[in-house]
Symmetry: C2
Subunit: 308 residues, 2 copies
């Protein structure tokens, strides 16, 4: 299988952690409901391809996300090797209870950087979302879990348009204060361009959140995800979220194209000689298999190019 | 229509010239043959959207590119405003004769950076291609024309794999010596990553070809085109090739995804506050109309997001 030519560039990190979101963020946004055995096989294959951090599922109420109603059953079927991190999304204390009962060691919570998305997605105001997060995070920490904080709509909101950078930093910094070990800065509708990325990362570090606590989460809705990624790497980011095969659109964006595909990211990182430990060929094979399960082609450019 | 938020970044140019290749490079690689009146309307609409440099057609033999067999007829139908540059591709002296007869003021010639592609595309060796180009360029210059030189397969070749950087620079520098005012460095199969882009541009400037004589031409086959573009801008590049709506695959690549879409490029440049003079909304409307003419959706992410 073709591999990119290796030519390094100055000012970039030596290694990057790919935070794989396909099984959770990807499948939650696909209309098809996938059998639990297929999900377990998918995760096993992702880990076999070398991914060491895989967000596996979500303990949100099945009424809201029927695609992931089998969360507890899925975790029972998984027997992942030591050293693999398998965080799950938890919306609130009830979700945390279910996650704890399933033996989860890492969780992620999902915050909004805008008032309108907080209302629509969390039925809450921008401030009120923290009354939900505070006890959830505290109890998770007390139980010895680590907590990741997603900040969504960092670069634009479908209802509000531009999002003030101070507002994003305020939401993120508060999550760090509450005990999140990492923030994932999400371009939920895929509109960001490189100047925004640099400005937001620098605003966080200026506010006292070190760059090694920041991850980036780009969507490719407007084709900008990899340009934004290489920009973030230049700012010192070393954790990048992506979704195998580009699984998962965004229901709030105008287009079906959603998450940055892990394969497209890996092509860039491999070409730059940035170590990830992930095997491109195994990943492409896995995403091609998963596309067959979903009955639709992968939107990943690399998967299309290499598996076509 | 949604526009990106404007946040500038340091180290980037204030303005960029978009060299639009849709009517030539795009339509030549579409399987459908488009009526000459539709082509003329397409070019008029591109110019009306603010594009000032539009490669309109090719005087290659109709046997090889039947899609552009109407080159002379198309140019007769065009009546472009002053200040609009309308170069045409010319493969050899016979093509130049036809271009001169049609009153063309700018031409482009298409060279290969690799032995195998020179053989397959030009039926020539890497060196022998210059025996074709030398009299073509000289006669064009004598007639007062300007000549652009395309260098194809700069970052990878489907048969040879990696391409030695010195070989690319040697081909390009020779075209400049022969009188080309500009080189377009093509990633014909879309495999490049940012380290390669930086290295190639610096190798050209080290060899005495100034950066203002260089243009970049990326394909999005592996999703890397915009990451490579922003990298090139950081190296001082101010001319970027793209194709409205992402028209045109590459027949030599594994996938149908070819040229960087002008709309995807424009989203990035607008977001960065880099002036182009091009109106995004008019361009999206034009590409949507053209997609209707071709009977297939535009592969541009931005067109899909905004017109969907």
């Amino acid at each position: 299988m073709r591999e990119p030519q290796l030519v390094t560039a100055e000012g970039l990190p030596d290694r990057v952690t790919i935070y794989e979101v396909g099984p959770r963020d990807g499948l939650q946004n696909e209309s098809a409901i996938v059998d639990v055995a297929v999900k377990a096989e998918f995760i096993r294959r992702l880990v076999d391809a070398g991914l060491t951090t895989v967000e596996t599922t979500s303990f949100v109420h099945p009424k809201w996300v029927p695609q992931l109603a089998d969360a507890a059953e899925l975790l029972e079927q998984l027997d992942l090797p030591d050293g693999v991190r398998a965080p799950v999304l938890v919306p609130n204390e009830r979700g945390l209870d279910r996650a704890l009962a399933a033996g989860v060691r890492e969780i992620a919570i999902f915050a909004s950087a805008t008032e309108t998305f907080a209302t629509k997605n969390l039925n809450s105001t921008l401030d009120e979302q923290f009354t939900m997060f505070t006890p959830t995070i505290q109890r998770a920490l007390d139980a010895g879990l680590t907590v990741r904080g997603y900040v969504s709509m960092c670069y634009g909101d479908p209802w509000e348009g531009d999002v003030p950078i101070d507002q994003v930093v305020k939401v993120g910094a508060r999550l760090v204060e509450l005990g999140c070990h990492e923030l994932s800065l999400g371009d939920t509708i895929g509109v960001a361009t490189p100047g925004q990325v640099t400005a937001l990362i620098r605003a966080f570090t200026a506010a006292g959140v070190p760059v090694d606590k920041l991850a980036v989460h780009f969507h490719d809705t407007y084709g900008q995800a990899l340009a934004n990624t290489v920009t973030a790497l230049r700012e010192g980011i070393t954790t990048v979220d992506s979704s195998a095969g580009g699984l998962g659109g965004c229901p709030y964006a105008e287009s079906a194209t959603g998450n940055l595909a892990t394969e497209d990211l890996l092509w860039q990182l491999n070409g730059l000689g940035i170590h990830t430990g992930v095997n491109l060929e195994k990943l492409v094979t896995t995403s091609t298999w998963m596309a067959g399960q979903l009955g639709k082609p992968s939107p990943s450019r690399v998967v299309q190019a290499l598996a076509g």
